[in-house]
């Protein structure tokens, strides 16, 4: 694999692909330099970035308002959570933002899957995740256990000494840390007791409700003690199974859906030995030989968000009407801040059915030509009316940087060169597939139509 291919693979997996500008400035970098730069940018970004409000003042709780007020507030909240959603995708697609940090945040957002309806809380959770995304996993789990949205989502505000609610304790183990088969039902019960009183106030800040907490003795993983939530998390992290569970999930997301047990073991070892240092594990992936092996390149189906962010990054797509962006997310099956359930998005082939595939293959046309999305998405379960069928996507695209990359290219080499940039799959493109579908009037039209056609290939769905 040549340097260009290595860099592109790195940028797709550690981010959302390369922008044409980024490509011009980085193409001479060694892989190691590119990796270092990704981490450096992530460090700088995590210190300065706070997601701004959607628009104006954010509402939070419903309080004692009238029915009509509540309805209006719910509507406003929905719009503002939507604003955080699109703000985030635009950030993922912005070449000036840290790709790695946003990618890591997206990973953890899917891992600690949580539906959030209050905009301020959504922002808070996102910032919490972003703060720890490349930090220490223990800190991250603890911060999530103290996150208002998560506490509500998994009913821990109802987890009280006299009537424990096991929901949070169960998911912490089953989905967030150690995985099924490594604990007993008794452990769930005892862990739930340890998390009693972990609640939040109306602003979504963590509150420890002493009177609801069970200070008594618990037996967890066969150890006796007056354990609280922190102790439980520590005891879970002490088990090597936890490092393996997380390493496996990270591998699936960043490397390949098909697990190589040896590689996972290697990562888990590093993760465990570093006391759950996420950055160390991520570096180990990108600096490994196997990360760049051909069997791991161009084989992952992009999630809808990765697909969109990738297009935005390459072509500086701007949506005049961000509702259209959310509409596309919905139609493709991935809405940020609204995962299907606490297990997150299943990923892989499950993104694809006949309806989502046709939309994916047509998406570049829609964005580049401002055409209508002639599709009806499922109505919300609370909706009273059927959704309208057409949705006009008003997007603008800056094609110039991309064109500049190829304007001096020999026409005969154009297909190969451009294919090498747009597609991650390694099959050689054949001119006859394209020849009747590109406009050859001038170079710019040729580059543009050829690029559009490439983005309509099934291969473009892979990274």
């Amino acid at each position: 694999m040549n340097t260009q291919q290595r860099l592109q693979h790195l940028y797709w997996r550690a981010g959302f692909g390369m922008s044409p500008k980024g490509w011009s400035s980085k193409k001479k970098h060694s892989t190691q330099k590119a990796i270092d730069e990704l981490f450096k940018n992530a460090h700088q970004a995590s210190k300065r970035k706070v997601v701004k409000n959607g628009n104006g003042i954010e509402s939070s709780e419903m309080g004692m308002s009238s029915k009509a007020d509540k309805k209006e507030k719910r509507k406003q909240n929905k719009i503002r959570v939507g604003a955080h959603n699109t703000d985030w995708i635009m950030r993922m697609g912005n070449p000036d933002e840290s790709a790695l940090l946003e990618k890591m945040t997206l990973f953890w957002h899917g891992h600690f899957a949580c539906t959030t309806k209050i905009p301020e809380w959504a922002r808070k959770q996102l910032n919490t995740i972003r703060q720890h995304a490349l930090g220490n996993f223990r800190e991250l789990v603890l911060a999530i256990a103290k996150d208002g949205s998560m506490i509500r989502f998994l009913n821990n505000q109802q987890n009280k000494k006299r009537k424990p609610n096991e929901n949070f304790a169960r998911e912490v183990m089953e989905l967030f840390t150690i995985g099924r088969g490594n604990y007993s039902e008794k452990d769930v019960k005892e862990a739930a007791r340890a998390f009693t009183g972990w609640s939040s106030n109306l602003k979504g800040d963590f509150v420890f409700k002493k009177r609801q907490h069970d200070f008594g003795q618990k037996i967890f993983f066969e150890k006796k003690g007056k354990w609280d939530g922190d102790d439980i998390i520590d005891m879970i992290l002490e088990k090597r199974e936890t490092s393996e569970f997380i390493a496996r999930k990270v591998y699936r997301f960043f490397v390949n859906e098909k697990i190589d047990e040896q590689n996972v073991k290697y990562l888990a070892q590093i993760f465990y030995d570093s006391k759950y240092d996420i950055e160390k594990m991520m570096r180990a992936i990108f600096e490994s030989k196997w990360f760049f092996e051909e069997k791991n390149v161009g084989v992952k189906i992009k999630s809808p968000v990765e697909l969109l962010a990738g297009m935005i990054r390459t072509f500086e797509v701007d949506f005049k009407n961000t509702a259209a962006l959310i509409f596309i997310e919905k139609a493709l099956g991935q809405v940020l801040f609204d995962p299907p359930n606490v297990a997150g998005w299943a990923g892989g082939k499950s993104w694809i059915d006949n309806s989502t595939l046709m939309l994916r293959l047509n998406l570049a046309n829609v964005l580049f030509q401002n055409s209508d999305l002639n599709i009806k998405i499922k109505e919300e379960l609370e909706a009273q009316k059927r959704n309208k069928r057409k949705r006009n996507v008003q997007a603008s695209v800056n094609f110039t940087p991309f064109y500049n990359l190829f304007k001096r290219e020999n026409e005969k080499l154009l297909l190969d060169k451009m294919g090498g940039f747009v597609l991650q799959t390694k099959g050689k493109l054949n001119e006859s597939t394209f020849e009747d579908f590109v406009i050859k009037n001038n170079k710019e039209d040729l580059v543009k139509t050829m690029c559009l056609r490439m983005m309509s290939l099934p291969e473009y769905q892979l990274m």
Binding site: K67, K349, A383, S456
Partner: protein, 396 residues
């Protein structure tokens, strides 16, 4: 990594002249076959239909006590048994009931019910326990189970633009199509045709999966388009999207299309406010369209081979709220229709309004018993394998 070898051919020249092996193979499995055996139609009420105002316990004082203004007066109820009757908007379903083409199962639900729309719909779609999270639907897993005929991509058809979780499997999924003409237009895209024509089967697994899905979609689009032209129904369906969806289903079924499962949706049942008129309108839409649909199938000799199941993610609170509506509840009624029902009329006794759980009905039947029965008796599949555990069968 392997290189693609493309067939040297002009892209548009060949609709029939040069058909790559791969495309041929897929076409061959689809187009020759036609409908075999029994059909299943699933109708989903989205938003949580108020079952107690659908099938009304008009002899029960507790019902009127809990619903002083929302309760439907006994003299308005369409009485079909000594203690239960239909909502007045369901007049057109009455004859189906009288003819024994309908079975109503009361108090269907699951343990530890979830009152969130999304979660509860998830549970009905995936057939999971309420504390279990699955990413495949019960019908999707049926498609994955090597069932006979399942290799056809439109074996399970949802009449909509997007696909429900119910129909999503791992290796296979159902097919979404709201309108055959539109689908044909989209899949007739010349460039997409060109790439499948030029594609050869020697790729990495996911590339191949995408191409396979694309080729299947193109083939199915053609097939469904042709089948949709075979038979135009002579009966008049009510205007509106739901009536159209059922008409679509009836026409495909009558044309002997190779489709085993049909799936359709009717939404808007989340009646927290001003329920009476809203629900009446929806139930009328449903009943009018269903009665035409069932008669249409009957006239074409299809009803004996068809089972229609209607469900909603939950029922609603027994007590009405202060806004002339009802809030999210738990157990609900499920309707079954067909020409060959073993147990006609009411399957079980009316819901118990005395023994409630926090103001909600306590389920009497796990919905997965219905699924298990459908899977084994109607779809010839193994329910235990698909549902992950054994559920007792019921009499359908």
């Amino acid at each position: 990594m392997k290189r693609r070898n493309f067939i040297k051919a002009s892209a548009i020249a060949s609709t029939s002249a040069i058909v790559p092996q791969f495309l041929k193979g897929v076409k061959a499995t689809n187009i020759e076959r036609s409908r075999q055996g029994k059909n299943l139609v699933v109708i989903q009420f989205s938003g949580g239909n108020d079952g107690l105002n659908t099938i009304i316990p008009y002899q029960n004082d507790l019902y009127y006590k809990n619903r002083p203004s929302l309760g439907i007066k006994a003299n308005e109820v369409l009485k079909v048994s000594e203690n239960l009757g239909f909502n007045p908007a369901m007049e057109s379903l009455r004859s189906l009931y009288d003819e024994g083409l309908m079975s109503i199962i009361n108090s269907v639900g699951y343990p530890n019910p979830d009152r969130s729309h999304f979660r509860s719909m998830d549970i009905w779609h995936t057939a999971s326990d309420s504390n279990e999270y699955l990413s495949t639907g019960w019908l999707g897993r049926y498609l994955d189970s090597n069932c006979s005929g399942c290799q056809s991509p439109h074996h399970a058809l949802e009449v909509d633009d997007t696909l429900s979780l119910s129909l999503k499997g791992i290796a296979k999924s159902g097919f979404a199509m709201s309108n055959p003409n539109q689908l044909k237009r989209i899949s007739d895209n010349k460039f997409l045709k060109s790439i499948t024509h030029h594609h050869e089967h020697e790729h990495e697994e996911n590339v191949e999966y995408l191409y396979k899905t694309l080729v299947d979609t193109q083939a199915s689009a053609n097939y469904l388009y042709q089948k949709s032209k075979v038979h135009k129904t002579k009966v008049k369906y009510p205007k509106g999207a739901f009536g159209n969806d059922l008409k679509q289903i009836a026409e495909l079924m009558t044309a002997d299309a190779d489709i085993k499962i049909y799936y359709a949706n009717l939404g808007g049942f989340d009646t927290h406010v001003g329920q009476k008129n809203k629900q009446a309108r929806l139930l009328k839409t449903y009943s009018d369209a269903m009665s035409v649909f069932v008669k249409d199938l009957k006239n074409n000799g299809l009803l004996d081979d068809t089972l229609i199941m209607t469900f909603s993610e939950f029922g609603r609170r027994v007590q009405q709220n202060a806004s002339g509506g009802t809030d999210h509840g738990t157990a609900n009624n499920v309707f079954l229709m067909g020409g060959n029902l073993k147990k006609k009329g009411f399957y079980n006794s009316a819901p118990d309004l005395k023994k409630l759980d926090k103001g909600d009905l306590i389920y009497q039947m796990d919905f997965r018993k219905i699924y298990a029965t459908i899977l084994e008796d109607w779809l010839d599949a193994s329910p235990t394998q698909i549902l992950g555990k054994r559920f007792e069968k019921i009499i359908i």
